[in-house]
Amino acid sequence: MTAVTTAARRRDPAVLGRRVLAALTGTVTVSILGALVAVGVLLVAIGQNPFAVYGTLLEGSLTGRGLVTTLQRSVPLVGLSIALIYSFRAGVFNLGGQGQFLVGGLASVVTALALPGTGVLGILAACAAGVVAGAAWGTVPGVIQVTLGPPVLVTSLLLNYIGIAGVSYVISLLKPPSASDQATPTISEDLQISALVPARSPLGEAMGQALERNDVLLLAARGLNWSFVVVILLVIATILFNRRTATGFEAGVTGLNGAFARNVGIRSSRVVLTSLAISGGLAGLIGALVVLGTNFRLLDGQFEATGYAMTAILVVLLGRSSPIGAVLAGFFFSMLQVGGEELNRTFALSPAIASIIQALVIFLVVLRLGIPYVTQRLRRRAEAAATGERIEEVPDAAPTPRDTTTVKEG
């Protein structure tokens, strides 16, 4: 989970071997297989061949145009998951990704509309506005928790609704009177994030001549924009942050045990605020990237409809707050969605099948995490009862004399 862990493990082949074995027999693998089997049974029940269905799902999401679509959708999903990792890893349960994402998107579109068309600089300014707005929005629950006490878990979630309503109102102000959509005007082409290789660029034309029309490389070069690269850089930066910076280390320690962190000189309020600021800032950045690279305007309700922000919470859960885990889980979920749409086209199955698999995987992951924990607790409870000790979360806790004076204190 931390840098340290990996570094220490790398030196120990036995630990490494056990780790590979653990990954293969681990919760995530087993949960995914379990979900596929369960849905397979459902498919048989409705008269479908599960192997054919899964084959189509894979083909539709991992080859050709489907692969490019999967990658496109992975960009915001993985990006938002990376944003959330900064708080979840520190033990701060930031459920406000939705609001931070949206507010960032709005700030960038407002900036882009206000700016004269100045190319890359303008894009950077609009992105910066997204970061600042997302960070400010995201930090509010932290300030509330640190000063007044109500937990981030609750306030961050509630702030989403304020965010959604507020953004909706601002959109209504920006909406051109003539337009039929509830949406901001479209930003100038100059401020739109371009494809990796635009079709009309010299390289794009050369590629177009050299490659087949359906070549996946060509599709990817034209279909993916520079946000893809930004998210890859974010993943790398996050790995480095967690492994190599004191702030990242302190966040990890706080997430493992907050009381311990406070006791060894880690300023926990600062960790909370920093984590939320980074989390919110990055979510805001992703909002900016979606506006500048994909939508080119902000349509009321469009961000919420994608479900990215909420799915990202599941991605972080499945990926166990690790950046690489977020990449894998984010890609997997995007793949299910894209494959699910293909199933709709080929078998006339509801695309909800993807959501069912997704939900089952998470369900099983939580269940599997729960089982050893539950049995451990039960066993300890029995022992604690047997010895008259207080129930401890730890196996060898000694009875503390202070606990014995319940009556005196009670």
Partner: protein
């Protein structure tokens, strides 16, 4: 006559054999001590005896009749009574009501309070247990509560009483009182199983002693024919010498100065106008029954609790308003009371747990970046130096035994070689080997010039390690005395709230009578 006989009791858990073929016989009218280190199998054996856990093998014979207990109700019906460490009493009810609860005299569902009070009064008198029968339990001292618990068992006609570490919460004088009660119960023909890990208590009160180690009986001895040394050898499998100390030099400048500190916790004065100082090369012990303000004082020194009044200086700097981080920068280190909750991140590996606090400066951080390889080396170095038994630095510390996890905490804090250490209950719940090693480390740290404030509810620990001893009672420091002048009775009296001069006079008087002074 034999009151209880266990033979071949075996209980296996997935990874350990908690009890391996334990046999034990308790005579009627006998105080039988059960002694062993933490993890020796005492708790499991008692749980089996009281019906919480069923044995895999073995038989229980009570009063000549073979029994098996599905749950504690069966055990109570067979005449067993258990007094736990934590009491189960209703604070709002009187002593008599607590004793009869669940078996009230009366009819038609109405409780006959007067009959209850009379019965309990008779019972208490018969066994020489002094309790205020009609008083509410709420404000009674711990020693009295324990007697109420014993009465509960007697009221249910227990013939065999099991006392689980009953002296853990008592002052030495209260313990002496408990021993009196135990003797009078013995005289009345009751049998007592007395669980403890303190050798002197075994010698003081038990007729026979059964020693457990690693889930097996290693000795069954008649107390009058044995010695503490022999028992200790059976407990640990080797000779243990706990009281060796390094030579001391004259203490240096004060490193910790506490002046007139008052701390409120939940609107209650937890620390009341406390002044004390710890100098370089000195261990100052705080003796006191748990819950008399020691933990609030330690929290205040660590910067976790604001002062209501007074000042604290660390290495000469007033730390008013400074947080824990700033105090650590000034040279404060801390072994907290609970190694799992505040002393470590159990899910984190040893590298993480040992690097915390070192991670902001060279060599673990260079040019703003952590050095993972050096963090591993740092962990390996501390593991070697402090003799932690762990498979490797990548192992999660939550999987370690209590003693080894405690060594991780001690290693991290002492590894700083900072001028000040506040050590709270540094050896609670760890085995004798670890106690020995941690005591050695603390003593060496002192010899190198470290200042230690030692908070411990183990009087022997305070007496063995400290240069000076402060006794805390209800948030106040009763006196600070050189440990050479401290005796168990003197400390015990002050722990119960007797002022220093009175305690001194009382102790002298009882010493003159050839009393309990040692």
């Amino acid at each position: 006559m034999r009151a209880l006989e266990l033979s071949g009791i075996t209980k296996r858990y997935p990874k350990v054999v908690a009890n391996g073929g334990i046999s034990l016989a308790v005579e009627q009218g006998e105080i039988h001590a059960l002694i062993g280190e933490n993890g020796a199998g005492k708790s499991t054996l008692v749980s089996i005896l009281y019906g919480f856990v069923q044995p895999d093998e073995g038989t229980i014979v009570v009063g000549g009749e073979r029994r098996s207990f599905k749950d504690p109700t069966d055990a109570i019906a067979a005449g067993l009574g258990m007094v736990f460490q934590n009491f189960n009493l209703f604070p709002e009810l009187t002593v008599a009501e607590n004793v009869v609860f669940g078996a009230e005299p009366g009819r038609l569902g109405l409780v006959d309070r007067r009959a209850a009070a009379a019965e309990v009064g008779d019972l208490a008198e018969r066994y020489g247990l002094q309790v205020p029968v009609g008083e509410r339990v709420e404000h009674l001292p711990v020693g009295v509560l324990q007697r109420v618990e014993i009465l509960k068992s007697l009221y249910r006609d227990a013939r065999i009483l099991i006392l689980d570490e009953p002296t853990g919460v008592l002052t030495p004088q209260e313990s002496e009182g408990l021993f009196e009660v135990m003797r009078s119960l013995r005289a009345a023909g009751k049998s007592i199983i007395f669980i403890t890990h303190k050798l002197d208590e075994v010698m003081a009160v038990a007729d026979r002693v059964t020693v457990l180690r690693d889930g097996r009986v290693t000795a069954s001895l008649v107390t009058a024919e044995t010695s503490p040394r022999e028992i200790s050898r059976h407990m640990t499998g080797r000779d243990v010498e706990l009281s060796q100390r390094l030579a001391r030099s004259a203490p240096g400048a004060p490193v910790l100065e506490v002046e007139g500190v008052t701390v409120e916790v939940d609107g209650r004065t937890a620390v009341d106008d406390v002044s004390l100082s710890v100098r370089a090369g000195e261990i100052v012990g705080i003796a006191g029954v748990a819950g008399n303000g020691q933990d609030a004082l330690a929290a205040a020194i660590g910067g976790h609790h604001p002062l209501r009044s007074g000042r604290i200086r660390i290495a000469g700097t007033d730390v008013d308003g400074a947080d824990n981080r700033r105090r650590r920068d000034l040279g404060f280190t801390h072994i907290p009371e609970d190694r799992h909750v505040t002393g470590s991140a159990p899910l984190g590996d040893a590298v993480l747990n040992l690097a915390v606090g070192y991670h902001r400066r060279s060599p673990l951080r260079e040019r703003g970046l952590l050095q993972p390889k050096r963090m591993v080396e740092h962990a390996e170095r501390l593991i070697r130096r402090f003799g932690v038994r762990i498979a490797g630095p990548a192992v999660a510390v939550g999987t370690l035994s209590g003693g080894n996890l405690q060594k991780i905490v001690v290693a991290r804090e002492l590894g700083h070689d900072a001028p000040l250490l506040v050590a709270e209950q540094p050896t609670r719940g760890v085995d004798i080997g670890a106690i020995e090693s941690i005591h050695g480390e603390l003593d060496e740290y002192r010899a190198r010039g470290g200042a230690v404030l030692l908070v411990s509810s183990e009087l022997s620990e305070v007496l063995n390690l400290s240069d000076r001893i402060a006794v805390m009672f209800e948030g106040r420091v009763m006196a600070v005395i050189p440990s050479a002048e401290a005796t168990v009775p003197l400390l015990g009296l002050m722990m119960a709230g007797v002022p220093y001069e009175t305690a001194l006079a009382e102790e002298a008087a009882s010493a003159a009578e050839g009393g309990t002074a040692r």
